[in-house]
Symmetry: C2
Subunit: 176 residues, 2 copies
């Protein structure tokens, strides 16, 4: 079975980096937890709510993102049972491409270049897609697992996973 | 209809750049035309036949490649009739990613980021794939158009296109 795994807010945590940068520049509290359904820019001063677009286009933004808890071990385990592809909508941000490659090489060295896809539209031929953005499910016929993130918590139309253990429970099952 | 178009030797011409670099470093003639079935490295001194791998990994290699004749106008025309995706196995060469983005922005500015895919395995969900490397057709169920390049001229198992006009003849047809 082929599984496509998104990067941001699924493997990597850009949200905590946004908060740090908005804290530095606009005094947003470091312990901010966005309200369900909100994006980070809903929690910043109005004159700064397009600033995320500058941050994300800076070289280095994606280079040192923290890992989402449990992602490395879970992807390693998934790979023992399935064909795992990392599929990130990275071509939107030209300056993210090298950072994302290098970040993957650091944290997921067991994923080879053959299994990395940087795209726009996620028109990939896979059986399962794990993503936090429902827009990436449009037109996809396979099984969709919506990985929980504050911005998607109000959506009810998708099979949801709150963390990597739940992904393993669904796609690998109990180990004997 | 969705069409996936490869970059190297289909839109861009790395072969002439390889020849230039091998000319500069090893005296290979500038008017070299590889024999059918041969790769460029079959035409260089034996001690230099892994050098292509260094060239291709250098920053800038892909930044200034010449265009394959007729490619810009043809892709523009295809786009009027179909959904065109550029699909390049670029993740093999980390240093190619930005160069390829910038090259596309220069020559194919009408292709937006949504329609650019940098991958390894070409597991894309499209109807037609235009590629010079038959290995990229493995597992692909749609229509395969093998774009002629010296290295593939001996292959007979595929529907072949020798140039961009032939692609238009097949995928757009005569214009009224």
């Amino acid at each position: 079975m082929r599984i496509a795994i998104d990067m941001d807010e699924v493997l990597a945590d850009p949200l905590s980096k946004f908060i740090k940068l908005y804290h530095r520049d606009y005094g947003v509290p470091l312990d901010l937890i966005p309200e369900p359904g909100n994006e980070i820019y809903h929690h910043v001063p109005e004159h700064a709510n397009r600033k995320w677009f500058d941050y994300i286009n800076e070289k280095g933004f994606f280079r040192d993102l923290p890992l989402i808890e449990g992602s490395v071990e879970a992807v390693k385990k998934l790979q023992q049972h399935h064909d795992v592809y990392i599929v990130s909508a990275a071509t939107e941000f030209r300056n993210s491409l090298e950072d994302k490659m290098d970040w993957l090489a650091d944290h997921f060295p067991f994923i080879t270049w053959q299994n990395i896809i940087f795209c726009g539209d996620k028109i990939v031929n896979v059986d399962v897609m794990i993503d936090d953005r429902a827009k990436n499910f449009i037109g996809f016929k396979g099984r969709k697992l919506l990985f929980s993130s504050p911005h998607n918590l109000l959506l009810t139309d998708y099979e949801r996973v709150d963390n990597w253990q739940q992904v393993l429970d669904k796609l690998v099952g109990p180990e004997l």
